[in-house]
Subunit: 265 residues, 2 copies
Amino acid sequence: MNETVPLDPGALTPEQARALFRAGLRVPTAGWCTGRTQANLIAVPRDQAYDLLLFAQRNPKPCPLLEVTEPGAVSAPIFPGDLRTDLPGYIVYEHGEPVAEVTDATEYWRGDLVSFLIGCSFTFETALRDAGVPIRHVEQGVNVPMYRTNRTCRRAGEFGGPLVVSMRPVPAAQIADAVRVTARYPSVHGAPVHVGDPLELGIADLGSPDYGDPVDVRVDEIPVFWACGVTPQAAVAASRPKFAIGHAPGHMAITDARDTRYLVP
Amino acid sequence: MNETVPLDPGALTPEQARALFRAGLRVPTAGWCTGRTQANLIAVPRDQAYDLLLFAQRNPKPCPLLEVTEPGAVSAPIFPGDLRTDLPGYIVYEHGEPVAEVTDATEYWRGDLVSFLIGCSFTFETALRDAGVPIRHVEQGVNVPMYRTNRTCRRAGEFGGPLVVSMRPVPAAQIADAVRVTARYPSVHGAPVHVGDPLELGIADLGSPDYGDPVDVRVDEIPVFWACGVTPQAAVAASRPKFAIGHAPGHMAITDARDTRYLVP
């Protein structure tokens, strides 16, 4: 892989970003392609797609659906690239176990896969930043920290599991702004699900995230938790369906859709 | 049927209303149970449910899903009554043709039916009325007028068809209020899809609605059109699936959920 991270990934078009990922670049996508919607991917065989679609309907906070493809389709109206290659990373699951982590999922792709594109909280980070709220993982150049919680999703058929959350530390004086700004983007997880003590979500140690990297929480800051589109992958791990392909957490599908498309009044 | 319309249906609890409908009362439900969420019903056999669920996902404006039941279930968390009997009216479809209009669907119900509860615009009429916007069909004591339009829904598997809309005449000076108020309720159709000339939606004569009753449009008023949860029934008529049961348009499932549950900031 000869591709390197560009100097200003925020200025790239989605098409340029997808070309870099197609060429093999593996990097978290927070801060990339300012103003564009980012999406989680979970793809399952058609015979598991009803249960997963129902799981998303019953758990709209972690699983806001942006698009569901026809079986075998590798692109979508909001994602004119190739879903098999144009994300920076993939995890392939068999019976709930990760069996491969790849930057090109072509050899694992199946003709009966239905792809679910689920809104990602990276999408509202532009609006947060515009409101003056710090985005610590972008400042530190690492992946956002994500945690499995003690909250259980509503089951649908074979899919059940814990709610997964992403965490951003926010100065106490800016909590209200962070809530107000993100609440206007329900399709990319909307308002936080929890503000404050991680233990109430069953998170014992913020320094050991289940996915992504730890970030610094400063003395005047409070951890704020948003529902996360990795939740379906936690459901895959818990429910052990035969086959699934997900994005590598934090390594998202960058769509052509502008973030304002998902802004509510 | 010995039940008569109560003097103040807005003051009834959902449980009281459902008991009246279960006893056989057939009446449109606009204005009933102030502050409670009303829902459209469409029930299809399990083997058609994936296509219908995908149709709803792809057409969220007419088909905002409040709940999807397990196959054979006749109640839901927000609707603790009996879906077979507790709506004021039902239409039974075979191959897209209405074969029965009944107030009790028990004899047609099947053990493999998946019920979809879809938000209804009657839900935001309380907020409209509180904002001083007239609700003409309630004033005139008739059913809301609904129309099939020339706008085509996104197809999903076997389901396709036209967008159906409901219409409320609004004084020109109050259009902005009507938009602003209803936009805050996306789960019950949200902001209007069209304000003004019915011909642009392919509606030739407001006086001849496809469902419900015509209402007076006064000289200072503009017709305002909202996406309508009868849309899946128009898809059933257009796509001719083997079997379906819908509510009689305007004769809704009255749920226990408060309308504020679906209010966005």
